[in-house]
């Protein structure tokens, strides 16, 4: 326990020392890099995952292909992919983005697809029967009803991306992983734990943001039935 407390103290000291909060090696700069990697890859992954998931869920065609692709993508070791792309194309942001997108697409895709496919067939039938066009059924009925699952997929993806973006530091890129990898190399435990703490806080913030988002954009009519968070 004493050991744990001393760890906390070390981290606190590290976090509060002013040198951590300025310059190209400081927390703000690293955080910005980290958020850039995460944000960009999440954006692209969402574009791919949402459009493909909505398309397949709405038409009901290609379900098996989607499941297979998602399964395959899920099996890719992100660490290996980042390092591989860096080795092949050289040190740049691209390899990180590619690897993180590959990581983030499956949960978004699968949840979007399952969410739309799982919409109560009676509601869909009623929507068509009242004269909604295909687009209206998708946008006014299927998407709002699938929203809890879609958000869950986005949240899982976001957390995985934020956590995994640390790996980018290993082949020499920036982001919060820098502290951890450098600390490890220099045997500077304070740096390792301090960097880790910042990532954990960031992941928790993402968690909180999605919980709040859910409160705001998911209809209260759905919250009671969709208990899984």
């Amino acid at each position: 326990m004493n050991d744990f407390l001393s760890q906390v103290r070390l981290v606190a000291d590290w976090l509060t020392s002013s040198q951590q909060w300025q310059g190209a090696e400081g927390i703000p700069q690293r955080l910005l890099e980290h958020l850039t990697y995460s944000g960009l890859s999440l954006l692209f992954a969402a574009l791919i995952g949402l459009s493909l998931g909505l398309l397949v869920g709405h038409t009901g065609r290609g379900a098996f292909a989607v499941a297979s692709v998602a399964n395959l993508a899920r099996s890719i070791p992100t660490f290996g992919l980042v390092v591989l792309v860096v080795t092949v194309v050289g040190l740049s942001t691209t390899p990180v983005l590619i690897a993180l997108i590959a990581l983030a697409v499956p949960p978004i895709l699968i949840n979007t697809f399952e969410g739309v496919r799982g919409v109560d067939p009676d509601a869909r039938d009623a929507a068509r029967g009242m004269g909604m066009t295909g687009w209206e059924v998708l946008l006014r009925v299927e998407v709002p009803m699938a929203l809890p699952l879609i958000l869950l997929g986005l949240r899982v993806a976001a957390i995985q991306v934020v956590a995994t973006a640390t790996v980018a530091a290993y082949p020499g890129l920036g982001g919060l992983g820098r502290f951890i990898v450098d600390g490890l190399a220099r045997n500077d435990y304070e740096l390792v734990i301090g960097g880790s703490a910042v990532v954990v806080v960031l992941a928790l913030v993402v968690q909180v943001v999605f919980t709040a988002l859910r409160r705001v954009i998911v209809s209260p009519g759905l919250r009671a039935s969709a208990a899984r968070s």
Partner: protein, 402 residues
């Protein structure tokens, strides 16, 4: 209004959902499509708003082939109610009802005002407007489903087993409410059910389908019960169709006789003298309201009928509003075998018994036969639907369902 011309629906796997159906749904009336599962009744309904496209034949609405109309546009002008209501869980009750007006571009305020009106029309309190579907009972959800279908005041309503998913008591309430609504609205309604009782209760006309999408008979409920076109229909409407037919005999048309009716002030000796051959007398008060039956053999030696032990009536039937079926029921429950008819004020008008009721029904039939010959029933369809060989199989399937 809605007309099916030689319509067939075949599925790629070879099954015939609907087979060469020609049928016209009369304007302003409720046409019930009834039959065992797999008989094509729902497919028929769904062909009326292009949820299902026929393989051959044409469906027309007010003389216009519905294929000429863009499907979503067509559907916005036709109300649609389904078994589990299919409410949108993410929208409030009010917004559910406002769906079609909003699709038609009415503007939010006007659509909501209309929705509030409809909420009241289907008998739901205004405070339900802000609730979500999961907060409603099954019956309430179904009412919202009906209100939603009425959103843009469409002249036609398609209803697919709308009351099947609720318990019998709620179903009865919804049916009564539905009849009341229809009296007010005069919509052209196509109503699908598998329940022959519901069909007879609600339908102005009934189309009985049999497995394979064949129209077995299209008729009024009375004629369906009196003259089933074939074995299949006879079995489907049930063994008790004779009793059911009495529902369509007006109580006022039931022949009555005076019967042994005596005021409770009558003295016992007087009774014995006048009704020695009768086992029962009906005791009434000074306003001729019935008090009960007295067994003549068990009367006390002296006093008036007021001193006698009276046996309860069971129930009476009223010449105002009751049917022959209520009369028969009253006769069967009465200790004397006599049903007591009362007028609007509850005073005894006369009595009748089961035999007389049966005779009345036979006379009613004979009278109807004279008028029926040129009634525009789809005689061809009904005649072509007479099954010979395997009608028995279908029948057994129906019976085991019940």
């Amino acid at each position: 209004m809605i007309r099916f011309d030689a319509v067939s629906k075949k599925y790629p796997n070879g099954t015939n959902a609907v087979d060469d159906l020609s049928l016209e749904f009369p304007e302003g009336g409720i046409t019930v499509l009834v039959g065992p599962s797999g008989c094509g009744k729902t497919t028929t309904l769904r062909m009326a708003n292009r949820m299902v496209e026929p393989t051959t034949g044409t469906v027309s609405l007010r003389g216009r082939d519905i294929r000429e109309v863009d499907a979503p546009e067509l559907r916005r002008g036709i109300g649609y109610v389904i078994q589990h209501a299919g409410l949108f869980p993410h929208r409030t009750v009010l917004d559910n009802i406002a769906t079609v007006p909003l699709l038609l571009g009415w503007g939010r305020k006007k659509a909501r005002a209309r929705a509030a009106e409809l909420l009241e029309l289907v008998g739901l309190p205004g405070e339900m407007a802000k609730r979500y579907p999961y907060q409603l009972s099954g019956g309430q959800q179904q009412r919202v489903g009906v209100a939603r279908a009425l959103g843009a005041d469409p002249p036609v309503l398609l209803m697919d087993e709308p009351f099947s998913a609720v318990d019998p008591i709620v179903r009865g309430e919804l049916q009564a409410e539905f009849i009341r609504l229809q009296k007010e609205l005069h919509k052209t309604i196509v109503f699908v059910t598998h329940d022959i009782d519901e069909a007879i209760k609600l339908g102005d006309n009934i189309a009985v389908f049999q497995t394979g999408g064949i129209l077995a008979q299209f008729d009024t409920p009375e004629r369906l019960l009196a003259r089933p076109a074939d074995e299949f229909v006879a079995d489907f409407v049930g063994r008790d169709r004779g009793i059911r037919r009495l529902s369509f005999v007006n109580a006022a048309d039931v022949p009555l006789r005076d019967g042994p009716v005596l005021p409770d002030t009558t003295s016992v000796p007087e009774v014995r003298a006048g009704s020695a051959d009768k086992p029962w007398v009906l005791v009434v008060d000074t306003d001729r309201r019935p008090l009960g039956w007295a067994a003549v053999a068990e009367l006390p030696d002296s006093g008036t009928l007021a001193d006698a032990t009276l046996i309860p009536l069971g129930h009476t039937f009223s010449l105002v509003g009751d049917s022959g079926r209520a009369a028969l029921d009253a006769a069967l429950l009465s200790p004397s075998g006599l049903a007591v008819a009362v007028d609007g004020a509850g005073a005894v008008v006369g009595v009748t018994d089961a035999q007389e009721l049966a005779a009345a029904m036979a006379r009613d039939d004979a009278a109807r036969d004279e008028t029926v010959t040129d009634e525009a029933v789809t005689g061809e369809a009904a005649a072509s639907a007479v099954v010979t060989g395997d009608g028995g199989t279908a029948t057994r399937a129906v019976m085991s369902d019940e």
